[in-house]
């Protein structure tokens, strides 16, 4: 699955602005990531993996219903990741 678009918020913009003003010493002094941060990363990654799994499931259902567009039928069942979302959006 392709990477999602960046989700910018006022909070991330503020953090980025603050980091840009910091020198190397300040940056090096920032605390490392803790278990809670890593847990959020891991959870987010797995949610995306499940989104991909469910999109693949949808594709199979559309195929069984004979609803796949011609362009996707030619590639089925080896539809590349980039083409998967494109196909489902098209439907």
């Amino acid at each position: 699955m392709a990477l999602p678009n960046e989700n910018r918020t006022a909070k991330t913009d503020a953090v980025e602005a603050k980091i840009k003003k910091m020198g190397p010493k300040d940056l090096a002094a920032l605390p490392g990531l803790d278990a809670d941060d890593l847990r959020v990363f891991g959870t987010l990654i797995q949610h995306f993996c499940f989104i991909d799994l469910n999109l693949r499931r949808s594709l199979e259902l559309f195929k069984l219903s004979g609803m796949l567009p011609e362009s996707a039928r030619k590639l089925y069942p080896n539809l590349p990741d980039a083409k998967l979302t494109e196909t489902l959006v098209e439907m």
Partner: protein, 175 residues
């Protein structure tokens, strides 16, 4: 009629929702890998004789592991900063990078489920029409942590090689 249990299943991210150690292990591995890519961008910066910002932008366009590795090896061959020994170290490092990337991609691009044991669902290279194109394989938090540790060792080697090429010692940061 909608099956509420099916909806509930679809809304979860698998065992990571309950197993915080598993989630943290996946997050740690992903984070260590980000450091590996940064280390390679630094090597690219040194070998291409560009500033770090420019190097970072150019290197970010090399998405495939193979391309990243090929570019660095080619630059290593022509860089006046390199000796035959350093070229050998770089080539070995790139072999290790490719191998770690394969393992990392398997872990971070596939859903993990829980039966009696944890398992990972790997995309089938030859999917059968009408079947969900995944097969399962056992996985454990220990195996994920082992991969994270090997990525950390790789990062250290890349740091040492970078220092050896530049002649400048710099902090290893948080990786």
């Amino acid at each position: 009629m909608t099956d509420p249990e099916a909806v509930q299943r679809a809304l979860t991210g698998g065992p990571v929702d309950e197993n915080i150690d598993l989630a943290a292990a996946i997050g740690r591995c992903s984070n260590n890998w980000a450091h590996a890519e940064t280390r390679l961008a630094i090597l690219f910066c040194l070998l291409s004789k560009t500033d770090l910002t420019t190097a970072g932008i150019i290197f970010s366009f090399f998405k495939a592991t193979r391309t990243q590795s090929d570019v660095l090896k080619r630059l290593g061959k022509i860089s006046p900063l390199m000796t035959p020994h350093k070229i050998e170290l770089l080539n070995d490092l790139m072999k290790e990078y490719q191998s770690l990337a394969d393992e990392r991609n398997r872990l971070l691009h596939n859903p993990i489920g829980m039966g009696t044991e944890l398992y990972i669902m790997l995309r089938d290279k030859l999917p059968q029409p009408g079947a969900i194109p995944y097969k399962t394989e056992a996985i454990s938090i220990e195996a994920i942590d082992d991969l994270s540790s090997r990525i950390s060792v790789f990062n250290l080697k890349a740091l040492i090689l970078g220092q050896s090429i530049s002649g400048i010692s710099f902090s290893s940061g948080a990786s």
